[in-house]
């Protein structure tokens, strides 16, 4: 039995860890309202001025719009390729299955700088101009893995006999997809998609090598910080981004939680 003291100590420890994770974020969020454009403590006055500046800045808007487009497209590509690959790996046995699985997952373990360099020299070699599409290809390398892993995990935890049961009860292929396969997989797809988008949205390294002259939001912020310019604007943008990130991540977590779709009991045996 844990004593009252260990419980208290554990609670304090958890609080410390959470503070450690959130204090820097909270600080930035507070600085977003800083009246002065010099970051110093204590803050002398509060303003929402910088939000207006950020909103009116063409550079910031273009960067956000590019990031959103790249994220959506990369996520779309990932959803199609990732779930198709997961189906193949989970449902069929074929020569080289393990190697295909390994090759699919590898890009996420590979340092981004390697992926970025490789892609960049590939594009240059083939005389492909860097554009939105090269960013999308770069991001898709790791987004595919996210969707693939999510869908594969769901498929592995779902009984293969569900499809047979549906057919057995008189449903043809389309009805089976509509009433069984899709509802069982949809939450995994949405969660995988949200995660993939979030990863793409803040990607720096691969983007740096595949973006060319245009700036995605992370590249723009990086540039501002490196030049020491516009720091209050960066803070204001960061504030908004944090808010918009918390929402999809919280959603993804809810969806990944056991919604009854996954088998909770292990009482099932197969012969």
């Amino acid at each position: 039995m844990e004593s009252r003291r260990t419980r208290w100590a554990l609670g304090a420890w958890v609080a410390l860890v959470i503070l450690f994770l959130w204090i820097p974020l909270a600080l930035i969020m507070v600085y977003a309202f800083n009246k002065s454009n010099v970051q110093s403590w204590p803050i002398t006055g509060f303003t929402t001025h910088w939000f207006g500046v950020a909103w009116r800045s063409g550079e910031v808007r273009d960067a956000i719009w590019l990031s959103v487009r790249a994220g959506l497209l990369a996520t779309g590509v990932a959803l199609v390729l990732g779930s198709a690959a997961a189906f193949a790996i989970a449902r069929f046995r074929f020569f080289g299955r393990e190697s295909v699985s390994f090759l699919l997952v590898l890009p996420i373990a590979l340092p981004g700088i390697i992926t970025g360099m490789a892609l960049n020299s590939f594009f240059t070699f083939n005389h492909i101009n860097l554009s939105l599409w090269t960013i999308v290809i770069g991001h898709a390398t790791f987004c595919v893995v996210i969707v693939y892993n999510n869908v594969l995990a769901r498929l592995r935890r779902t009984q293969a006999s569900l499809i047979e049961a549906s057919m057995d009860l008189g449903a043809d292929g389309w009805q089976t997809f509509r009433f069984v396969t899709w509802p069982v997989l949809s939450t995994a797809l949405v969660a995988g998609g949200l995660l993939a988008f979030a990863l793409s949205f803040d990607e720096v390294v691969v983007t740096y090598f595949t973006a060319g002259a245009q700036n995605t939001l992370p590249l723009l912020i990086l540039g501002y910080i490196r030049l020491g310019q516009q720091l209050p604007v960066v803070n204001a943008v960061a504030f908004v981004i944090i808010l918009f990130t918390v929402i999809p991540v919280a959603l993804a977590q809810r969806l990944m939680r056991d919604t009854g779709v996954l088998r909770r009991t292990a009482a099932v045996t197969t012969v």
Binding site: A165, M167, D168, L169, G260, L262, R263, T269, T270
Partner: protein, 350 residues
């Protein structure tokens, strides 16, 4: 007959001699593995037919061939006289109770049960009353709004059964449906299943049951087929199969293998048919090699002087466990009536 009482009786449409299911020369190989290796079977309408055998003997594959999940490499599968060999599962008048139940996790119990009716376009009102009826039949009324995860193993089993029964198929296939339940629940469900089957056989529904549990097969079936290595070793009523095992494999798999060889003849005697006399009595001489006390009965393993070993089972009418266990090493004579011995053929011929 009760057959005529029901309007939807399909037995009326067919002649009385038409089997509900007929397999002829069915083979299914996976590479070198002969999962089903030439099976011929005729199953009568309304029958409780069991396919018994160890794992890998081809019984489940045969069931899946009837359901349509697998295609035979050779042979023909008929339902009610119609060739279904190449018909997809969703067009067969057959429903399956899966070993892992295969309940749809994102649907409630009621939605699971009505699924078959829903995809066939049965109106909601009819569906609702049929679902209620089916849940009542499996003794789960009022659980319709639960999700499968909220049910116990036994309850899920019943839902799986209701989901198949509600479609009133011509043939109900059950793939080791009680395999995942504990002993007590399994025995309860055996009785329950048998009750449901009796009601359903009145409307001509045929039950095909797969199990590796010989006791289950003997207690529940009208007839059973013993599978071994992709082939059928014997088909018969439980009493026929138990008392007249056709091959050594059947003798061993259904009950205890008590096979002796005398004068070039091989025959089997069931353990409960053997009388143990003392040393001076009549019968074959032997020595009790081992004693296993199992509560209601005691098993004696007797080494015979003229070769071979027999298992003898005696009820513990007056013997105590102590007395029974002390019999180890004693010399005895075994006696049985000649009509209780059955000559058996060598291994695998059919």
């Amino acid at each position: 007959m009760a057959l005529q009482l029901q309007g939807e009786t399909r037995a009326l449409n067919s002649t009385a001699t038409q089997p509900a299911v007929r397999l002829s020369g069915v083979r299914r190989h996976y590479g070198d593995v002969r999962a089903v290796d030439g099976v011929d079977l005729e199953i009568a309408p309304g029958e409780f037919f069991t396919m018994l055998g160890p794992s890998g003997s081809g019984k489940t594959t045969t069931l899946r061939l009837i359901a349509g999940f697998e295609q035979p490499d050779e042979g023909r599968i008929e339902l009610d006289g119609k060739d279904l060999t190449r018909v997809p599962p969703y067009l067969r008048d057959v429903n399956t109770v899966f070993q892992d139940y295969a309940l749809f996790p994102h649907m409630t119990v009621a939605e699971n049960v009505e699924y078959g009716l829903r995809v066939k376009g049965v109106p909601r009102r009819v569906r609702r009353s049929k679902v209620e009826e089916a849940l009542k039949m499996v003794r789960l009324p009022g659980l319709g709004s639960r999700r499968p995860v909220q049910l116990s193993g036994g309850q899920r089993q019943r839902v799986a059964l209701a989901r198949a029964l509600v479609n009133s198929p011509a043939v109900l296939l059950l793939d080791e449906p009680l395999g995942a339940l504990d002993l007590k629940l399994r025995q309860e469900m055996q009785i329950e299943l048998k009750r449901i089957q009796r009601e359903m056989s009145d409307v001509g529904m045929t039950f095909i049951y797969v199990t590796h549990d010989q006791e289950e097969a003997l207690t529940m079936s009208d007839r059973l087929a013993v599978f071994n290595d992709g082939r059928i070793e014997q088909v018969g009523t439980p009493a026929e199969v138990y008392e007249h095992p056709a091959t050594e494999f059947v003798a061993g798999f259904v009950g205890v293998s008590n096979v002796l060889e005398r004068d070039g003849r091989r025959f089997t005697v069931r353990p409960e048919k053997i009388r143990v006399n003392d040393e001076n009595g009549p019968g074959e001489r032997g020595r009790i090699r081992d004693v296993v006390y199992v509560g209601m009965v005691t098993r004696y393993i007797v080494e015979l002087d003229s070769g071979g070993e027999l298992v003898v089972v005696r009820q513990n009418l007056e013997t105590s466990s102590q007395e029974a266990l002390e019999a180890r090493g004693k010399r005895v004579r075994l006696e049985w009536r000649p009509e209780h011995t059955y000559e058996i053929k060598e291994g695998n011929e059919s």
